[in-house]
């Protein structure tokens, strides 16, 4: 979820919550207030009526002079000396929303019945030796209606404000955060190989200036680190290879000496073999470090099935020498994007592994199925855990190989975001490379 929407969501939720709580409290506060006032009003009216009666004003007079509904009922005994206030529901028949005055006048003949929440005050008086009960009723519904409308107006204004705030947020946020979005885009596009550092986005927000500068500095550091590692790799390749070449050529010239004894010749050849081994280790490690440093670009489209065919021809002498039976099964052609030299190294190392670790008269099975390339070879049951097969310098039989081949294979496979697995079944070692799932390289 984008930051702006997250912000809006939180803002909206909180605002709506506050709006509802506020509205609710306001409504009850007003309602309470109105009720109180009504009670005060009625008490005061009762007091006035009582007072006037005491002064000798005729009871009949009040029937017409009090605004609220007044009833005078003759009673036997006085019950309420002090006024009693209670809630009553007044049932009146009315037609839709009519005014109270009309309702009062048209008492009969109406179809709809309406109830009004009202307050009633009751008190008993004595005049001319007759006891009367006076009841005054005041409807408070219309007052509460006012409270409702007031609340509604405030609620609607609140909602409008919320909508405006959301809109402002969307626009202002996008504008305010545009340097950050620009920076994210730049970081995504950043590639250390291009040796181009990230430029901080133009902004006058202090935090974003700091962020941009830090990211820019980091990218600069990455580039310089990358360059020095790259330089080191190149130097070491060159600096080690040349002395090795010198040693080898010295040995080769020694071998031309006609006075050389057989023992000396064997010693020299052994030395030469070790030099070659050193050279191959250097080469393998250089390749691994270049893969680690992501120094390969420019992939091209490669048909693995065709490549395998070519390389099998190349290895045919080795296959014949061990009298291996080669079987191939293909249900689909695997086409991938890879740097040419790496694809060749990949296939060569896989084939080499299958030949070198095979037994005399063994089998090699190569299958391509559902974009998975599997190369199997006969062999004894593995002694180590399968994960170790891809470790550097892991070799089951001493002196047979350097043990770099499969770790190079794994690195290349992972470099392009594919996956590799090892499995031993029916006396067959199988290495499967899955070219399906493209894991995002980080």
């Amino acid at each position: 979820m984008k930051l702006v929407y997250k912000n809006i969501l939180i803002n909206t939720l909180v605002s709506v919550f506050i709006l509802f709580v506020g509205e609710y409290s306001l409504y009850f506060f007003l309602k309470n207030k109105i009720e109180k006032e009504t009670i005060e009003h009625l008490t005061f009216e009762a007091y006035i009526v009582k007072n006037e009666l005491n002064k000798g004003v005729s009871i009949e007079y009040f029937k017409h002079n009090i605004g609220d509904v007044l009833e005078i009922i003759p009673i036997e005994q006085i019950q309420y000396k002090t006024p009693l206030i209670k809630d009553v529901l007044v049932k009146e028949e009315g037609e839709g929303e009519e005014h109270e005055e009309e309702l009062e006048e048209d008492h009969e003949g109406h179809k709809r019945e309406e109830t009004f929440t009202s307050k009633q005050v009751l008190f008993d008086v004595t005049q001319n030796d007759k006891n009367y009960r006076i009841s005054i009723i005041k409807t408070i519904d219309e007052d509460e209606g006012m409270a409702g409308s007031m609340s509604a107006i405030i609620f609607i204004s609140g909602l409008c404000m919320l909508v405006i705030i959301v809109l402002i947020n969307v626009f202002v946020f996008n504008k305010l955060f545009s340097p950050v979005y620009q920076l994210i885009k730049d970081i995504k596009l950043f590639s250390v190989q291009q040796l181009k550092k990230i430029t901080p986005p133009k902004t006058n927000t202090i935090e974003f200036i700091a962020l941009g500068e830090e990211v820019s500095r980091m990218s600069e550091k990455m580039i310089s680190d990358y360059s020095s590692v790259k330089e080191f790799t190149e130097n070491i390749t060159h600096e080690i290879q040349t002395p090795l070449a010198v040693i080898n050529s010295k040995i080769e010239r020694c071998l031309q000496d006609e006075n050389l004894t057989n023992e000396q010749a064997v010693l020299l050849v052994e030395a030469s073999k070790s030099v070659n081994k050193l050279f191959n280790i250097n080469k393998g490690l250089t390749l691994l470090s270049r893969l680690d440093n992501k120094q390969f670009n420019n992939p091209i489209e490669i048909n693995l099935n065709n490549l395998i065919q070519q390389r099998i021809i190349y290895f045919s002498d080795f296959i014949e020498n061990k009298k291996l039976t080669l079987n191939e099964k293909s249900t689909n052609e695997i086409v991938i994007n890879m740097k040419e030299s790496l694809s060749e190294t990949l296939i060569d190392n896989l084939l080499k592994n299958a030949i070198q670790h095979n037994i005399q008269n063994g089998k090699i099975l190569i299958t391509t199925h559902n974009n998975v390339l599997s190369i199997s070879n006969s062999g004894d049951e593995p002694k180590d855990s399968p994960e170790k097969y891809f470790d550097r310098f892991h070799s089951q039989t001493p002196n047979q190989s350097l043990g770099l081949g499969l770790s190079i294979v794994k690195k290349i496979v992972e470099y392009y975001g594919y996956s590799i697995s090892y499995n031993f079944e029916n006396n067959l070692h199988t290495i499967a490379v899955d070219f399906n799932q493209k894991i995002k390289t980080t």
């Binding site: 010198v246 050529s249 031309q256 010749a265 081994k277 080469k283 040419e340």
Partner: protein, 224 residues
């Protein structure tokens, strides 16, 4: 024939010069880029061997200089950098061949000979050695005027032997040159043995003298 060796590693340059001198080449060594420029202005060379990383310049620039000056020498790059990109760069600049260090001197010699054949014996692509005649254009081998059929590996093996005639050649050098082995896969002695045996048999059956000698513990020697 004159060969210019441009290589900053003095010892390596001398080794190369000594080995090639045995095949009647007149070798001249330049350890620096500027030395190479001086030599080029004074003399003409059939072949120029160039190391890419020189103390005072880059081999690629030297190749471009040679091409600009329209010097017709054949160029072989000797480089410690074994990368396809670098190969392509060197060949694009005008190099004829590319050899990765460390190389076998016998391999370098074979490449030099092949390049000289291509550059200076146009029309004359036949190499002769005693009873054997190899037509490199048609990839045909004749023994005493009779044609013999060789597999491609046997053919390459024969060419390699003839190029380095008189020299002891290690099995490793043969494996490197004929099977183009790289990385850590050794060509087993049996494979080489089988191919040499077959080649020898074909040559001798056709009436050739047996030139291939086994050298104990090392490899082979092709000699009269």
């Amino acid at each position: 024939m004159k060969i210019l060796i441009v290589e900053d590693e003095v010892i390596l340059a001398d080794e190369v010069a000594k080995y090639l001198s045995d095949f009647d080449y007149n070798c001249h060594v330049a350890n620096l880029y500027n030395d190479a420029l001086k030599s080029l202005s004074r003399e003409e060379f059939a072949i120029i061997l160039i190391d890419l990383k020189l103390l005072d310049g880059h081999g690629i620039d030297l190749i471009q200089y040679i091409k600009r000056k329209k010097i017709s020498s054949g160029i072989i790059v000797l480089s410690a950098i074994d990368e396809l990109d670098m190969r392509i760069k060197a060949l694009d600049a005008g190099a004829d061949d590319f050899l990765t260090k460390p190389f076998h001197l016998s391999e370098l010699n074979a490449r030099v000979k092949a390049l000289i054949r291509r550059n200076f014996h146009k029309g004359d692509t036949v190499i002769e050695y005693g009873d054997i005649k190899v037509d490199t254009a048609k990839m045909q081998v004749n023994v005493l005027e009779g044609n013999i059929n060789l597999t491609s590996k046997e053919y390459e093996l024969l060419l390699y032997f003839i190029s380095n005639a008189g020299k002891v050649i290690t099995k490793e050098a043969i494996g490197y040159s004929v099977w183009k082995t790289h990385s850590d896969m050794d060509v087993s002695n049996e494979i080489i043995y089988t191919h040499v045996k077959n080649l020898r048999k074909k040559l001798v059956t056709a009436g050739s003298k047996d030139y291939i000698q086994s050298v104990y513990g090392i490899g082979y020697k092709f000699d009269n």
